[in-house]
Symmetry: C2
Subunit: 224 residues, 2 copies
DNA sequence: GCGAGATTGTGAACAAGTTCACAAACGCGC
DNA sequence: GCGCGTTTGTGAACTTGTTCACAATCTCGC
């Protein structure tokens, strides 16, 4: 357990382990070996052990891992041991899917407020919440103290929203808009791009995709 | 341009480049250097050139890349040069957000059919489409010939849907359900997990997250 | 208490992906 | 046409992440 920086892929997998553990707990399983984790998560036993080793020693040789104990530890690591409020910006289709997403609760993630800039929407109910004016985001978050924000607005408005979120004190942004966000170095951004995911799948769906060599070589530009 | 297998990260970035290029094209820009791409995409110029080198040579030394030409090439590589039909399964919140997602069109991705198993929903309109019975998916895709599918159903139903999609001829699956899918080797799966993304952000939002060493060590399990 | 069997934690070997740096290619002005 | 400034394409160095393999640790039955 050297005091290195934790690789991001490790953090991503931590969330997967947590899900498996919660399932196991639900099924009344008390103990889990790294071998069994491999079966349930698709992630190799060695990888699982290595990932945990960044944070300490959680298992018992010859036995495995206490399901309850490890759940608690991973939750603590990921700061999911107490409720994490989240600011959602954008009361459109994606925002709607998010407030209705049932799986947040098990991870103690809660959308604590919804914002939009559309005057028609402001004041209307949205799930359990009332849509608030994006202009009031700083003021509202002074109460809530959320560190996480979600951007679910069209691309052209995303940067502006990101600035507002940062101004309101958010340090982690989940961005659904297909744009690169410019943020201060202390703010972490993760992008969710359906297009990107589908593009990768599209490539693989037709294996032999190969652009013929020297395509765009001749002449200024070849029209399509 | 050695005939190596293309790294997945490269494919992911290709979609980003494409977006930047489409924006540039919209702005009437004819030519783009790797340097400028770095500015607009946040991906290093060297990385951009290396990525393209897997597929051929598309730039002109001393000049840069033809925007139009490169768009065409990347679209061809990603099989987005002709319309890609997609089967969507799950007419819930997420499905609803997807059929309403405006950015698909620019990438020639089109949700060609929607399926659900809820008898109340089947037959109802959903965006431009009518919700169909999941039982008919094979039959319907015999017409459509889609190779891509999206799973937007609760976790407990996801595996069953995956099997149905594979049976219907799909070879690429975008999975929104928080589960590991078991699929034949020729089928590619990509998972979109809001929880995972937020968990990573949650960790970073409170930098000093460190589970104390030797936590779950003593005794069978320590209750939470 | 002790040996057998299981499983962890981790340094070391390996693999994959990124960055560097530079020769080769190109356009432009004269 | 020739030299200059620019930009590409790519092998080589480097960095990051994964897999391996094994000593150390633990349980359990007798």
């Amino acid at each position: 357990m050297t005091e290195t920086r934790v690789p991001v892929p490790t953090l991503e997998r931590l969330a997967i382990y947590l899900r498996v553990l919660l399932d196991a707990h639900e099924s009344g399983i008390q103990t889990l070996s790294s071998q069994e984790m491999e079966q349930h998560s698709g992630i190799s036993a060695a990888q699982f052990r290595k990932d945990l080793s960044y944070f300490g020693e959680f298992g018992k040789p010859g036995v495995g891992y206490s399901v309850q104990g490890l759940i608690a530890c991973i939750e603590r690591i990921l700061r999911l041991d107490e409720e994490q409020p989240i600011l959602l910006v954008g009361a459109g289709n994606i925002g709607s899917a998010l407030v209705g997403y049932p799986n947040f609760r098990a991870h103690r993630l809660r959308i604590a407020a919804v914002f939009d800039n559309n005057f028609v929407k402001i004041g209307r109910p949205f799930g359990d919440l009332i849509i608030e004016d994006i202009a009031r985001i700083r003021e509202v978050n002074a109460q809530i103290g959320a560190r996480l924000g979600i951007i679910a607005v069209p691309a052209h408005a995303a940067q502006e929203v990101a600035d507002a979120l940062v101004d309101a004190g958010v340090t982690g942004i989940l961005n659904f808009a297909p744009t690169i966000l410019r943020t201060p170095p202390h703010v972490h951004v993760r992008n969710v791009s359906f297009l990107q995911e589908l593009a990768v799948l599209s490539y693989h769906a037709v294996e032999d995709a190969l652009c013929v060599n020297g395509q765009a070589r001749r002449g200024g530009d070849d029209g399509v």
